[in-house]
Each structure stands twice: as structure tokens, then as C-alpha cells.
Amino acid sequence: MILLLAIIIGLAATLLRARLNHRTFKLKHLRWEWLVFVAVIPQLLVFQVPFTGRWIPEMFIPLIQIFSMLGLLVFAVANGLTPGFWAMGLGLTANFLVIILNGGWMPINQETLSRLVPSLPLDSWVIGTRLGFGKDRILAVSDTKLIWLSDCFVSPQWFPYKVAFSLGDVIISIGAVLLLWSLSRKEEEKK
């Protein structure tokens, strides 16, 4: 949800720029677009569709997660020269590294969860368990590898949607905005 906000902001900004400068969108030719769909559909079935997500054993989820992200990494590298893709690839690499080093799950610690939901006591978050049906597993700080790449940031209190996110998520969002912004560039800028 928080990442989709980047797409909405980027799209609104680039639409406004195109309208103000009387430009039309010029879409970059991307290589292997099909790979995104092939790589992400298993993830959607695991994390976004509750009906199928419940039926997939947890032991298979790290494998699905890692192979899916590998497919996306190949796609990001193949399109690395497209504006924004270098940032999206960098963010993806950051998330991939922390996930692969922590057993195929994005780590989140009790302190972050406590900041996210201050009304619940710290020990209500059980270490070693999966957080809902998402990509996160609750880990102790001492057991988390590359903790600074984990879901350690929390949306501000005034923000209506409570979410924890990683540095990789921030970089991916910046990349998405840059990519969308590049759609309304002047013709000569695109070369």
C-alpha cells in the first residue's frame, strides 16, 4: 500500500508536467516484461490472496519469495539503463539481501512493532512467528542480520495507514517516481 502511494504520486506529477508542457507520454521499451508477471504471480498467491495464502505451507514461502525476487532482479538488471530502474533494482537488491540472509523472510523486531502499535505490550509479539500473512517474521534484534535493511522504519503517527518499511522500500519508491517522471521528459532529454 505504501509503495503504491509512490506510483500515485509519480503518476500525478508526470501527468501534471505533461499537461503543463503540452507533451505526450513516451513509454520506454522494456526488455522481458513478461518476467515480472511470471515472477510476481506466485508471490501474489502467497501474500495478497488470503484464500490461496492460507493453503501454502510456510516452509515453501521462503523458496517462493527468493525465486520470485531473483526473477525481478534479472528483469531490473536487463532494464538497468531505463531511468528509475537503477534505483528500483538497488532497493530490490537491499530487500533481497536482508531476506536471503534471514532465512527467506523480511525480519521485523518487537521494538519496531511496538512503535507501530503502541497500544499493545511488547511481549504480545512472539519472536519466531510470522507477522500475519505477509513477508515478515518477528526476530530478536540480536538474531537479525543486516538489521538496518530490515523493516525498521515506521510511518509517522499522523499518517492514517500504519506500516513498517525498509530502506529498500524507500529506494524502490524513489525509483518508481523517477521512472514515471521520465515518461513526460522532453524528446531530446530521453536520449
Binding site: Q43, A76, D151
Partner: protein, 42 residues
């Protein structure tokens, strides 16, 4: 009649729009797959 309908349809659904929708769909899919934010639902 059929040609008229097709011309109107082509004006409404231009290839550029279809490509843009596909591009945005691809971007949304990429972001969902690459990102890992977590919400608690509280």
C-alpha cells in the same frame, strides 16, 4: 456499420492507452514483488 463501431472503439481505446495501462500494471506488480512493507492491521 462495423467499421464505424471499430473506428469509435479505436478512438476510445488507443494502442498508447493500452500500452500505458500495461506499463502501469507491470510497475505495480514489480513494486508488490520487490517491496516488503508490513502492516499489522491495527
Amino acid at each position: 456499420m462495423f467499421t464505424k463501431i471499430m473506428t469509435s472503439a479505436q478512438l476510445l481505446i488507443r494502442p498508447m492507452d493500452v500500452r500505458l495501462v500495461f506499463f502501469l500494471l507491470m510497475l505495480v506488480m514489480f513494486i508488490l514483488g520487490a517491496g516488503a512493507p508490513s502492516a499489522t492491521g491495527h
